[in-house]
């Protein structure tokens, strides 16, 4: 529809970047950005001109901590119908995955969105729990369903997360020095550009909200490099064809009406203040965490540990790349994933595995 894969323009940008003699590290927080970067080989092109790009905590399935995976499985084992996005199925828990429970006869359904889960509840007499994972892009869809008088047997396990507090965590932890951030286009379609400003103001970080075509990322990186070399730190919007400065007010209202911000754990991180979304008290009959609190408490008390040797946590904090994990493509593959970063199609390990041998000049 819009031709944004222009090779000639990309070559020009790379030439410009080379002349800038850069040695910088950028971060993005989006599986789709990582997909574009690796699929089109842009990550190595950028490396050649002194730009290292890391995927931070930008994969909803990956950042979902072990506790929440165990909680979901506890409900499935208790005979409750679980409706979840397909990516969640194979995330290894302590003993098994949701997929294993399904294979053993548990009622675990793969859905493409919350409305499918509401339909399942309408056609069933049993309890149906939708596993609400995802950032601000997904949260308004769950919110809309919660606010549209769903049936009484429908409830939500809200594991939604809010992106800006995680960006603050990354910046304040200081483990990685970032010279710029590529902000996620579709999260920004909902929240707009203002929620990122604190990063530039407090940490001086250049930021560009970017779309998902190769040229979007080329231009975003170019704008970041310009800001960096001119000593500026501000929020620019490269994806204005979708992202309005104030975001999507209807979606933001739905989030506000359905959820309350709450402190939450992200895999690989300590508790991040106000980075989660719990279902509002007024909607508590649809809040699975209240409806099934006994089953959940038992699961939450159990010891929840990371898989042995898995380094997803460090990948999500941008400290290492997937290729630096000793298990990558040896013991850990998509057929036999050890950690969530190899399960989810948005996970850095899965993406690296997927395109490693096929990335040559596909633009």
């Amino acid at each position: 529809m819009f031709r944004l894969r222009d090779r000639e323009m990309s070559q020009k940008i790379l030439k410009e970047l080379k002349e800038m003699r850069l040695d910088i590290t950028l971060m993005h927080v989006c599986g789709t950005h990582q997909d574009t970067l690796v699929r089109f080989g842009l990550d190595s092109e950028f490396q050649r001109v002194g730009i290292d790009i890391r995927q931070g905590p930008g994969c909803p399935v990956c950042i979902t901590p072990p506790q929440e995976i165990e909680t979901t499985m506890a409900l499935a084992r208790a005979g409750i119908t679980i409706a979840a996005f397909g990516d969640l199925m194979r995330v290894p828990g302590k003993r098994q995955s949701l997929g294993d429970i399904k294979a053993e006869g548990g009622d675990v359904r793969i859905v493409f969105g919350v409305d499918d889960a509401v339909d399942i509840a309408r056609q069933s007499h049993g309890e149906v729990v939708f596993v609400g994972i995802g950032f601000e892009t997904t949260a308004p869809t769950t919110a809309t369903a919660l606010l549209s008088s769903p049936p009484d047997n429908f409830s939500v396990l809200s594991f939604h997360r809010i992106v800006p507090p995680a960006l603050r965590a990354i910046s304040s932890m200081g483990e990685i020095k970032l010279h710029g951030m590529i902000q996620p286009g579709h999260v920004s379609a909902i929240i707009g550009t203002a929620p990122y400003e604190f990063l530039s103001e407090e940490y001086g970080i250049p930021q560009v909200v970017a779309g998902f075509e190769p040229l979007d990322l080329m231009v975003a990186v170019y704008l970041l490099a310009k800001q960096h070399s001119e000593g500026r730190g501000e929020v620019q919007n490269e994806y204005s064809r979708v992202v309005k400065p104030a975001g999507n007010p209807t979606a933001l209202k739905a989030i506000r009406d359905a959820f309350t911000p709450t402190d939450a754990i992200w895999r690989g991180f300590p508790v991040i203040p106000e980075s989660g979304m719990s279902v509002k008290n007024e909607l508590e009959i649809h809040d699975a965490s209240k409806r099934f609190s006994d089953t959940i408490a038992a699961a939450a008390d159990a010891e929840c540990i990371e898989p042995d040797g898995c380094r997803c946590g460090e990948i999500l904090r941008g400290i290492i790349t997937s290729e630096e994990c000793p298990l990558f493509d040896r013991k850990c593959t998509p057929e036999n994933p050890i950690g969530p970063c190899m399960v989810s199609r948005e996970g850095s390990c899965h993406i690296s595995h997927r395109y490693r041998r096929t990335r040559l000049d596909k633009t």
């Binding site: 529809m1 819009f2 031709r3 944004l4 323009m9 020009k12 940008i13 410009e16 002349e19 989006c30 599986g31 789709t32 994969c59 909803p60 399935v61 996005f85 397909g86 990516d87 493409f112 969105g113 919350v114 409305d115 499918d116 994972i133 995802g134 950032f135 892009t137 997904t138 308004p140 869809t141 809309t144 549209s148 579709h186 379609a189 909902i190 040229l215 231009v219 170019y222 490269e238 994806y239 204005s240 064809r241 979708v242 992202v243 309005k244 999507n248 209807t250 979606a251 739905a254 989810s344 948005e346």
Partner: protein
């Protein structure tokens, strides 16, 4: 799951629209956007999350071109 793709609205019936995803028609919940028939929307998890702004898309392409001609002149 976080993937969001553009689709063209073909028909609208209340909060639900039929949209064309490159030749495949599927229903999309449009309660989060103000969309009309013929609009391109960005669809995520069965919901349209925003309407694609054609004018802005043109402007972006124009901006890309300018950015590069400028650099040529400056180099």
């Amino acid at each position: 799951m976080c993937l969001a793709v553009p689709a063209e609205i073909i028909t609208i019936d209340g909060a639900v629209a039929k949209a064309d995803f490159g030749g495949v028609a599927r229903s999309v919940n449009i309660s989060l956007v103000d969309a009309k028939v013929g609009d391109f929307v960005i669809v995520h998890a069965g919901y349209a999350i925003e309407v694609l702004d054609r004018e802005e898309a043109e402007k972006t392409l124009q901006l890309f071109r300018e950015l590069l001609t400028q650099d040529d002149a400056g180099a």
